[in-house]
């Protein structure tokens, strides 16, 4: 498959970013990974090295002015190009809407949406020049709206709106932009909320937690050469839970 030899930048090295990076590397992509957390990004890069592949570790907070441009420039320099961008920003604290304060709101917007805008723009400028690009942004099924997640849902809805806008504006430039929207995934948050997860999963058509690798597989599908006729789409990896919501095609 068809990400082989492609230059890919994965933003965010937490659970889903880590799985995406390992999956893309396993499929033969040349890889850079950026995260603000030095240890986290280096840990993923050494795992990939242990698996016999190679990846470049970049430490940057791409939400800060200039950092996204610097990250893309360094990726292009180190990998000789940038064909694929995958973003996996995931910041959000659970809080009831009536109790939510401005800081909690701002944390979600600043953590999920601002770096997304900056890194997508920096990457797309490079891709538009070359006439080829695959952007896959990881949103969340929660963008449809959910308990105690008004800040997070709004930010993740922003991911969808931004991605669809990129898709539309750059449709004639060889760039596709698509969205993966995970539901309940076996990550730190799910492990910290065992009671919530138990009752949530009972309501799901597939009553299990997904894995970060399941999300990575959907990303790989959308990042491939062969996915060139698909853009602006949202794919839920959520055990079928989104079927209970209205269609958001």
């Amino acid at each position: 498959m068809s990400v082989a030899r492609r230059a890919a930048l994965v933003a965010g090295a937490a659970s889903i970013g880590r799985a995406v990076a390992r999956t893309l590397a396993g499929a033969g992509a040349r890889l850079a990974i950026v995260d603000a957390d030095h240890d986290r990004v280096h840990r993923v890069v050494s795992e990939i090295a242990d698996a016999g592949a190679e990846a470049v570790a970049l430490v940057a907070d791409v939400g800060l002015p200039g950092e996204a441009d610097r990250t893309v420039a360094e990726t292009v320099e180190r990998l000789g190009g940038l064909d694929i961008l995958v973003t996996t920003f995931d910041v959000g604290r659970d809080e009831e809407f009536l109790a939510m304060n401005l800081e909690q709101w701002s944390t979600a917007i600043a953590g999920n949406l601002t770096p997304l805008f900056l890194i997508c723009q920096a990457a797309a400028r490079h891709m538009a020049e070359r006439g080829y690009g695959r952007i896959v942004n990881v949103s969340a099924r929660d963008w449809l709206g959910w308990d105690r997640r008004a800040n997070y849902a709004a930010a993740k809805a922003g991911v969808v709106g931004l991605t669809r806008s990129i898709a539309w504006e750059l449709v004639s430039r060889g760039i596709t932009a698509n969205i993966v929207a995970p539901g309940w995934i076996d990550d730190e948050r799910a492990r910290s909320l065992p009671e919530v997860v138990r009752s949530e999963l009972a309501m799901q058509p597939i009553p299990k937690l997904g894995s970060p690798e399941d999300v990575a597989h959907a990303v790989l599908f959308m990042a491939a050469d062969e996915a060139g006729y698909m853009t602006g789409q949202t794919l839920y990896v959520d055990g079928g839970r989104s079927v209970f919501s209205s269609l958001t095609a």
Partner: protein, 253 residues
């Protein structure tokens, strides 16, 4: 994208998108049953797949004919031992302005495009339930959102979406997923045969990407949904339409 050693039935696989799906699944190691109403097409595609060193079986028959479908599924299970993947791709179109659309044109399209998906899915799901494994992938169309002269076609393809979502809910407990792919305009022999080159050119320019989709680009999405790794994905509707679903306007053709 693992489909290796899976047994897949692809309906309407004698040409176009269905042929591309069957060949892509086969090239990834699936054993494929080639269904179509045209025997020569079934045989040709099956033979071409066998020549690439993969296993394929031709199975001629209509998708809404319950007896024919039962016989095809039985033959598949006899020959390959199981049915893991069903791709409901067979479809027809009989476009006409709403005010002139006849009952015959309505019934013919609904029969193949919607009843066919029901009959094939229900029959295959019997085998899949027994195995506790299944992947159903249905080919809907971007046109299900509604389009001129396609009341019958759009309604049938909209029905495929709601049927898919219901299959997903009812069959999840048997480890069977059901998803739908909605192609936009795709370059097939059928399309080229029906339209003179200048019309094809105009259609191409009217697409957001400035081109039609290739059958292989649709098949790619089917391969994803059919793969082992997509077990957590069900009830989804994915448009592979060159971005047209984002902002479809009449002047985009």
């Amino acid at each position: 994208m693992a489909v290796k050693d899976r047994v897949a039935i692809v309906t309407g696989a004698g040409a176009g998108i269905g042929e591309a799906i069957a060949k892509l699944l086969a090239s990834h190691g699936a054993r494929v049953v080639i269904n179509d109403i045209f025997e020569d097409r079934c045989e040709r595609v099956a033979e071409e797949i066998r020549q690439t060193g993969h296993d394929a079986m031709a199975a001629v028959g209509g998708v809404s004919d319950r007896e024919a479908v039962s016989a095809m599924m039985r033959r598949t299970a006899d020959r390959f031992g199981k049915i893991d993947i069903l791709v409901n791709n067979a479809g027809i179109g009989k476009n006409r302005g709403l005010m002139k659309l006849s009952d015959e044109e309505w019934n013919a399209v609904l029969d193949v495009n919607l009843k066919g998906v029901f009959v094939c899915s229900q029959t295959a799901a019997g085998y899949m339930r027994a195995q506790q494994y299944g992947r159903i992938v249905n080919i809907s169309s971007r046109a299900w959102l509604g389009w001129y002269t396609q009341a019958n076609y759009a309604a049938s393809k909209g029905g495929v979406v709601s049927l898919t979502r219901t299959l997903a809910l009812e069959l999840a407990k048997y480890n069977i997923t059901a998803n739908a792919v909605c192609p936009g305009m795709v370059e097939t022999a059928m399309g080229r045969g029906q339209n003179p080159p200048e019309i094809m050119e105009r259609l191409m320019k009217a697409q957001p990407m400035g081109r039609l989709g290739q059958p292989e680009e649709i098949a790619w999405a089917i391969l994803y949904f059919a793969s082992d790794e997509a077990w957590y994905v069900t009830g989804q509707t994915l448009f592979v339409c060159g971005g047209k679903s984002l902002f479809a306007t009449p002047d985009l053709g």
